[in-house]
């Protein structure tokens, strides 16, 4: 007998509970009927995993709260007495929540991720940086490499923070306007200044300035 594949008209209609076959709601990770934990939707973006709006500008205080709340509900420890399937799903949910949180908490990671979602990742294709910009980056790196005392390093760090703040605002404006091209070029600049930031942090750690 010829077996025809089941035609999927729409994936939302056909998603059913693995345990009781009940049609699943779109928004809940649990079955409405038997209350069993469902597998993680593999198509979910980090934003969807955490249930927040896809935006560059996010409330990080709220993000921390959301993260803790979600881990409270999905942590595998909570499922240790449940079925093997549910334990497995809890591991999937929990690790996706961790990954999403780590990515979205940091503005640079978040910006890189948004470019990826927009199909214009930073690491693919050419971005022409202006010579004047590259010169500026070269100079600040040289200044940092030659700095002999912590005051100089901290002054560089301070100046760098101001530049980063301004660029992050520019990135926010570009992402909000849906201008991915512009966002990509701002993020490229951010990446450079973020490297300077990391170096300042490293210096501070090495010299016991950072707590």
């Amino acid at each position: 007998m010829l077996k025809l594949p089941r035609v999927k008209f729409c994936s939302l209609v056909l998603k059913q509970c693995w345990n009781c076959d009940e049609n699943l709601s779109l928004t809940s990770a649990f079955c409405n009927k038997c209350n069993k934990l469902q597998p993680l939707n593999p198509d979910y973006t980090h934003f969807e995993v955490l249930g927040i709006e896809r935006n560059f500008s996010i409330d990080t205080v709220a993000l921390v709260k959301t993260y803790r709340n979600l881990q409270g509900r999905f942590h595998p420890d909570r499922y240790s007495t449940k079925s093997e399937q549910e334990q497995q799903f809890a591991v999937e949910h929990s690790s996706a929540i961790n990954k999403a949180y780590r990515c979205l908490l940091h503005p640079v990671e978040r910006a890189l991720y948004l470019l990826e979602l927009a199909d214009q990742p930073l690491h693919e294709g050419q971005i022409d940086m202006e010579p004047a910009f590259l010169m500026e980056i070269m100079e600040v790196n040289e200044e940092l490499a030659e700095a002999e005392d912590k005051e100089t390093v901290q002054a560089i760090g301070q100046r760098n923070q101001e530049i980063l703040k301004r660029l992050l605002r520019d990135a926010d404006a570009a992402f909000s306007a849906g201008n991915t091209r512009e966002a990509r070029s701002v993020v490229a600049k951010i990446k450079y200044y973020n490297n300077v930031y990391e170096k300042v942090r490293e210096y501070e750690r090495e010299h016991g300035i950072l707590d």
């Binding site: 930073l122 690491h123 971005i127 940086m129 010579p131 590259l134 010169m135 980056i137 070269m138 790196n141 040289e142 490499a145 490229a188 600049k189 990446k191 450079y192 973020n194 490297n195």
Partner: protein, 151 residues
């Protein structure tokens, strides 16, 4: 605690293994680090960047009247592979004519340093830096000629 010791040792070894010994050699003993006077008309300066990793590379050449590269310097702020690629590039361009230097391809650099695929863009950056330095030198020379003509 022998077991614990083994674990830490393994962890410590992993990051080093990413780099081939040739990369480490150039990273630890970079050749030709420094700067040439960028306003000197016999000096060409190439400044290139890899936005995806935030690396910046400056490569400078000094060219004599016969069109031969007699000196080269670099300064790179980036990963070990980027530093090694530019260090090797300065070694290779020295003593070459400009046309010979333009034939240096990133694959040659990558092959010499045994760069893994994820680090190929570092050798590409070094190739771009050579090209940019020579193009800067040519632009300087032609504008110098123009000034002479106008005099």
């Amino acid at each position: 605690m022998p077991l614990l010791n083994t674990t830490t040792r393994n962890v410590a070894v992993v990051p080093v293994k990413h780099y081939h010994e040739k990369v480490i050699d150039h990273y630890e003993n970079p050749r030709n680090v420094g700067s040439l006077d960028k306003n000197d008309t016999t000096v060409g300066t190439g400044l290139v960047g890899a936005p995806a990793c935030g690396d910046v590379m400056k490569l400078q050449v000094r060219v004599d009247a016969e069109g031969k590269i007699i000196d080269a310097k670099f300064k790179t702020f980036g990963c070990g592979s980027a530093i090694a690629s530019s260090s090797l590039a300065t070694e290779w361009v020295k003593g070459k004519t400009m046309d010979e230097a333009l034939k240096i391809k990133n694959v040659d650099i990558a092959k010499e340093l045994k760069l893994p695929p994820v680090k190929l863009h570092c050798s590409m950056l070094a190739e771009d830096a050579i090209k940019a330095a020579l193009s800067d030198y040519r632009i300087k020379q032609s504008s110098k000629d123009n000034i002479k003509k106008n005099d």
